[in-house]
Amino acid sequence: MIAAADLSPAYDLIVIGGGPAGLAAASLAARAGLSTVLFDENPGVGGQIYRGITSTPVKNGTVLGEDYWAGAALASEAKASGASIVNGATVWTLDPSLAVGISIAGKARLVQAGRVIIATGALERPFPIPGWTLPGVMTAGAAQTTLKAQGLVPSGRTVLAGCGPLLWLLAAQLLRAGVKIEAMLETSSRRNWLRALPHLPDFLLSPYWRKGLGLMREVKAAVPVIPVQKLAATGAGKLKEVVYVSGGSERRLLADLLLLHHGVVPNVNLAMAAGAAHRWNERQLCFVPELDDDFGSSVPGIAIAGDGAGIAGGTAAAERGRIAAIAAVRALKPEASVPAPQVVRQKLAREEMGRAFLDVIYRPSDSFRRPEGDTIVCRCEEVTAQQVRATADMGCEGPNQMKAFLRSGMGPCQGRLCGLTVTELIAEQRRVSPAEVGYYRLRPPVKPITLAELASLPIGEAERKAVER
C-alpha cells in the first residue's frame, strides 16, 4: 500500500483510473521509460468491467465469462511494467498546469505531471423512475460489482429492468451463479429497430452480435422477458413491489431487489472540472469531450481515454489508452520505442465497430429519461421532476441557474446522478436541444474532501511566506 507521503513530487505521466484504458496506458508509458503513476480510488485495479480481477472469490470461470478474465492480462502487464499503481487514491482536482490533487487514507498531496491521461470511464445513466431511491432498488452495475468483487449475489425475489448489453450480461452471469430472476422488464422501444437497421451491416461484422445473441438466448430460456412502457418501485421505507405497464395494462410484481440499467455514459466530472471542452452527442444522449486523434483534450497535456471519451466498451478502452500513451511518450521522450500507432488504431476501429447499432437499438426511451410529477430527479437534494420543469417554465434557462432555485446537483454526488436528467428536462420545457442547455459547471474538488485533508497538504516556503509577516 502506497501512502501519500511516498509519492514523488512529480511524474512524467499521471494516469487517473485503473480500468482497461488506464492500465493499458500506464503499462505502455512505463515500458517506454516514462515515470508513471496510476491513481485509482477503488481497493483494487480493473475499473468496473474488470472489477476485482486480481482478487475475485468467483473462481468458476464460466460465471463471469471469458471476456471478464481477459482483464487479468492487462492487470498483470501493468504490475510488471514498472508503473506505480496506487489504489484507494481519490483524485479531487486537476488543473490546466497539470497539478493533480490526490487524497490517500485522509492525507492529501499535490503532484505535478508532465502529461495526464484521464481514464475515469463511465457510469450508469440516471434511471429516474418513481421509487428509485428506495432501499432495494440498485443499478445492475452494482449487482455485477458485488458479484465480481465479493461473490455476493441477490437472494430474494429479483427483478431486472431497463435495456442494453450490460443488462443481458448481468442476467446471464446471475443465472450461471444460480440466482433466480423473476422477470426482465425491457424498456427500449421496438421502434428503435427500424432506426438501427442502417447500422446492422457493421454490427454483423463485429464480435458483438454472436455474443449478444448467445446471451439473449441463455436469458430468455430461464427468465420471462416483458416489454414495458412504464415502471415504478413502491414500498414504505424499502422496495415491496415493482409496478409496470405492459401492452396497456398495469401489473405488479412482489420484489426484494430491483436492478435498473439503461446504458452507460462518460463520467465527465474530472475532465470538465479540468476545463476540457465537451459537446452533446445526440446518438449516445450524453456529453462527450472534444478530442483529437490521439485523444488529446482541449487542455494541452490532458488526454481522455476509455469510455470517458465516449462509450465504446472495455476492449476499445484499452486501445484508446495505448494511443493516448503513445502520444505522451512521443511528447516527453521522443527517442523511446513505442508500438506502431497505426496498428493500434486498426485494432481500435475493429473494437468500435458495431457500437452505433447498439447505441440506436438500446436508445433509452424519452419517458424513462425525462420523468414527470413527483419522481425524484436529484437524489441528494431530493428535487422532483415537477420542480425542475416548473422552474424551467418560470424562465430558468440552464442547470447552473437551477442550482440557485432548487439545489439540484449540489449534494455529495455533484450531479453525477441527476446532471443529464436536469439538462434534458430543461431542454424539453424550453423546446431546445440539450446542447443549447449545457451541463452543470463542475469545479474542484470533484470528490468531497475534508478541510483536515486539505490542511494535510505539505507547506513549502512560498506558502508560509504568503501568510506570515
Binding site: 480510488e41 477503488n42 481497493p43 468496473q48 476485482g52 482478487s55 472469490p57 468467483v58 484507494g88 481519490t90 485522509g106 457510469l123 450508469e124 431511491t133 432501499p135 432495494g136 432498488v137 440498485m138 443499478t139 452495475g141 452494482a142 460489482t145 458485488t146 468483487a149 465479493q150 461473490g151 455476493l152 449475489v153 441477490p154 437472494s155 430474494g156 451463479a177 444460480g178 421505507g237 424499502k238 426484494d256 431487489l257 463520467n267 437524489r379 441528494c380 437534494e381 431530493e382 449534494g411 455529495p412 454526488c413 453525477r416 446522478l417 468531497p448
Partner: protein, 96 residues
C-alpha cells in the same frame, strides 16, 4: 437481499454496536448488504432511508460513519478487523 456464493466470513466488524461478520475483501457497503442491513443512512432533507445504489463510488447513498469519521463512502472502503461502522442519520454530525 444478498447472499454469499461460497466464502466463509473471516473479519469481524461492529455495525451500530452489533457484531457483523464480513469477508476479507468486502467493502463496508458489501458487508452491510451481506448482513441484511436494509439501509445505511437517512437523508438530511426528508429523513428517508437509503441503501447503497451504485456500489462504484458515484451515488453517495452508502455514506456511513467509519471509525468515528462521518460521510465515508462505504463502497470504497475495505473492511478491517475491529472496524466500527455506524449508520448515518441525516447530515454528518459536527465533530465527526
Amino acid at each position: 437481499m444478498f447472499k454469499r456464493l461460497h466464502d466463509t466470513p473471516t473479519v469481524t466488524i461492529k455495525v451500530n454496536g452489533q457484531t457483523v461478520r464480513a469477508r476479507s475483501g468486502d467493502t463496508v457497503a458489501a458487508a452491510l448488504l451481506a448482513a441484511g442491513i436494509d439501509h445505511c443512512r437517512t437523508t438530511p432533507v426528508t429523513g428517508a432511508p437509503r441503501a447503497p445504489y451504485c456500489l462504484m463510488g458515484v451515488c453517495f447513498d452508502c455514506l456511513v460513519t467509519i471509525d468515528g469519521i462521518g460521510n465515508r463512502q462505504g463502497c470504497l472502503v475495505p473492511v478491517r478487523e475491529g472496524m466500527e461502522v455506524a449508520t448515518q442519520v441525516g447530515k454528518r454530525e459536527a465533530g465527526r
